[in-house]
Amino acid sequence: MAGESTHLEVRNLTKSFYGVPAIDAVNFELRGGEIHGLLGENGAGKSTLCSVLSGLYRPDSGTVSLNGQDVAFRSPQEASSHGIGMVYQHFRLVNSFTVAQNIVLGLSKDQRPRSMRQVERMVGDLAEEFGLHVDPSASIWQLSVGEQQRVEILKQLFRGAKILILDEPTAVLAAQETDRLFDAVSTMVDKGHGVVLVSHKMAETMEYTDRITVLRRGKNGGSVETRDTTPAEVARMMFGDSSAAERTTFDTSHEVGEPVLSLSGVSVLGDHGLPAVNDVSFEVRRGQVVGVAGVAGNGQRELQEAIAGLRPLVEGTITVADTDCSNAGPKATMQAGLAYVPEDRLGVGLAPGLPLEHNMVLKSYDRAPHSRRGVLADAAIEKTMDMLVEDFDVRGNRRGMRVSLMSGGNLQKAILARELNEIHQVLLAAAPTRGLDMAAAEAVRAHIVDERATRRGVLVFSEDLDEIVHMSDVIIVMFKGRIVGSFERDELDLDQVGLLMTGSGLDADDASDQVSAAS
């Protein structure tokens, strides 16, 4: 078990994958009673550092010391028994188990209370102490994302964690839930715990942390006291002086044309047969980008699938460029003019085990020039691939290589290339920049926004509110399968959007009023 004081120090830590260092001679220090922000772009090495600290990876070289003692964890359990606990962005909870069952899962005989009832009582006490309220006897699948996160934190506290590593904890939370999380975190810190906050969001890092360490391309980018620094300085540490951090601003001064995508009273069921989208109506016009904001799991995925023809409508109609595509299936919707960049790149947008040339003609393999009378024209397919790779700067392909080994950014560019190359009137893009590094995300956004100039319509879904605001002419907010708000770009009130995303101040009647207002 961890001692009273908590002091973690990392010196010269290096960990390579396939011979390429993911972190290279990194130093890091965490004191008890502080929140330490760990910042960096995707691929900067944050996750690798945390995985070493939490015992998942063993470092190639360098030392980790805890309260002055060198430690080398061979497993997450060893780290846990030294009081280090990690809360992953993707929760490690068994959905069909209860909160209490998840919390005792994997505990050894002497750590484990005798009965489940005792566990539930102890969990209840812990929850009270730290303000992490959750019903210990509820099953995980019944809980909201915020509650599930609390379970993850309780699980670590139950195991005596004195150091908590929170991996992008706010990525899945709405604003109000974020506040609750940081209330609990400050309670922990007051009790002498140390917390590492892994993030790539500048604002929350500046607001909540005591110190900040920046990783950049696997190396230390700098460490500062939060109160002595400015966002600009931290950004320089993250991206260098080239100020790549600043986003291009898009030209939004143009006329909108007729609707190219109209939804009217659309309702669909989710995977488990329960209503997932309820009476949704809106329009996307030519030359317009409509952004859908909302916390993940509020029916966005089901709505996207419904628009793409992949999920049957229970009620309502969907029209793509004057063609009624209600329940017409994916192929007819595609032919009516819908280009679709799905949320899951590998497995939906791309067939992961097949090579790039196959994936580049995934929707046009059955037409000239790619095939004639049912026979494939390999040369034409290759030509198309070469052209798209060139135009969209897709890198990292080798002839015959399965696409799953390409990086996320290149995969996304490949999908965009294919979709935009098809004849289309409207682009549906879901989470288009999730997991991409800055440069790739910027390239993807530029391609999407270009659609506006070519007089097509764009419907974009993203969990990143900044991104939505940045790109869209009209922002609509989804909550529990309904449209709960709709804003023109100039009249946008971010606080109001945040409230709507969490369902605050709305009851069911209000919500349906908002729907009609939105359309």
């Binding site: 846990s80 993707h90 068994v94 069909s96 899962l105 994997g106």
Partner: protein, 315 residues
């Protein structure tokens, strides 16, 4: 007369159900850890030949069953290496067990002079309970007339239910089958758990095969199981991975297996080839009905990570 027929056929259904039950219970444990092992037929054949050989050498039913069990474990561990460590397609790996099991069992069965094919069964199987109970009308032959293995089968159902639902080990096993990444993060060794569960499944199938050989058929023939292992695979799906339902299902299949005997006694003339089809047609229909069932609860009972190889690096 009709009553006697009924009583005898119920009693024989219970005996015929026992090997299916052991194999199905083992498969439930294996599946609950997330490993699909389609090789039951092969493991039962291995259990059958090894069990028969051991029974011949020792004359002991216990030795026959234990040796048969380990015959099944031997093949199951090959599956574990392929499916858990090497993460190859579990379907293909399971099928390879069927072929290896039938090849190896036939090879063992026909090797040696004289071979097991011509050997006589040395194991005597006797009823467990005193004749006072056995001679009770109706319930005597049905409930009290069996050998010890039949009762162990029922105890195994209780034990499997208890271990899976009420013990930390069972919780860990189910966690590995539901969400291996979560189990791994909680400190459970996914690989170890899956190896153990796969071995337990092999033991069940091996015991079932040994019981079939020494206690029911009484001789060794190549390919002796004739599809019973596959019935067990179907039964696990039908039972929704629950031991108690597997018991009921095994009894039903045991009854179908003994149907020919029953009808013969009842002097109903149905071609034996059609009787042989019955369990397979039933299993075919049942698998379709379970899949088509609008009550999805049963289907959702399948372990969420069934047949999905796990690697920490893949997350």
């Amino acid at each position: 007369m009709n009553d006697t027929v009924l009583i005898l056929s119920i009693a024989s259904a219970i005996v015929a159900a026992t090997p299916i039950l052991f194999a199905a219970l083992g498969e439930i444990i294996t599946n609950r850890s997330g490993v699909m092992n389609l090789g039951i037929e092969g493991m039962m054949l291995m259990g059958g030949v090894i069990g028969f050989w051991a029974g011949n050498g020792t004359g002991s039913l216990t030795m026959a069953l234990i040796a048969g069990g380990f015959g099944g474990v031997f093949l199951a561990l090959i599956h574990a290496v392929l499916a858990v460590t090497l993460r190859v397609d579990q379907t293909v790996s399971g099928l390879s067990l069927v072929i290896v099991g039938s090849g190896l069992s036939s090879f063992i069965g026909t090797s040696g002079e004289p071979s097991l094919l011509s050997a006589r069964n040395a194991v005597e199987v006797t009823p467990l309970l005193p004749s006072a109970l056995r001679d009770l009308p109706a319930v005597g032959p049905i409930l009290f007339g069996h050998d010890i293995v039949v009762y162990i089968g029922v105890l195994a159902v209780i034990a499997a239910t208890y271990v899976l639902n009420r013990t930390p080990q069972g919780l860990a096993l189910r966690a590995v089958g539901e969400d291996p990444a979560a189990a791994d993060a909680a400190g459970i060794s996914v690989v170890k758990m899956r190896y153990i569960a796969t071995a337990v499944g092999g033991f069940g199938a091996g015991v079932g095969g040994a019981y079939l050989t020494v206690a029911i058929v009484g001789t060794w023939q190549n390919g002796l199981t004739a599809g019973i292992g596959w019935i067990a695979v179907a039964l696990v799906i039908l039972a929704g991975w629950r031991p108690w339902l597997a018991l009921l299902g095994a009894l039903a299949f045991g009854g179908l297996n003994g149907l020919g005997f029953t009808l013969q006694l009842a002097q109903v003339n149905v071609p034996s080839d059609f009787l042989k089809m019955m369990p397979f047609i039933a299993a075919y229909l049942v698998v379709i009905l379970v899949s088509a069932s609008p009550n999805r609860a049963r289907r959702l009972a399948a372990p969420a990570a069934l047949a999905q190889p796990y690697s920490r690096e893949d997350r």
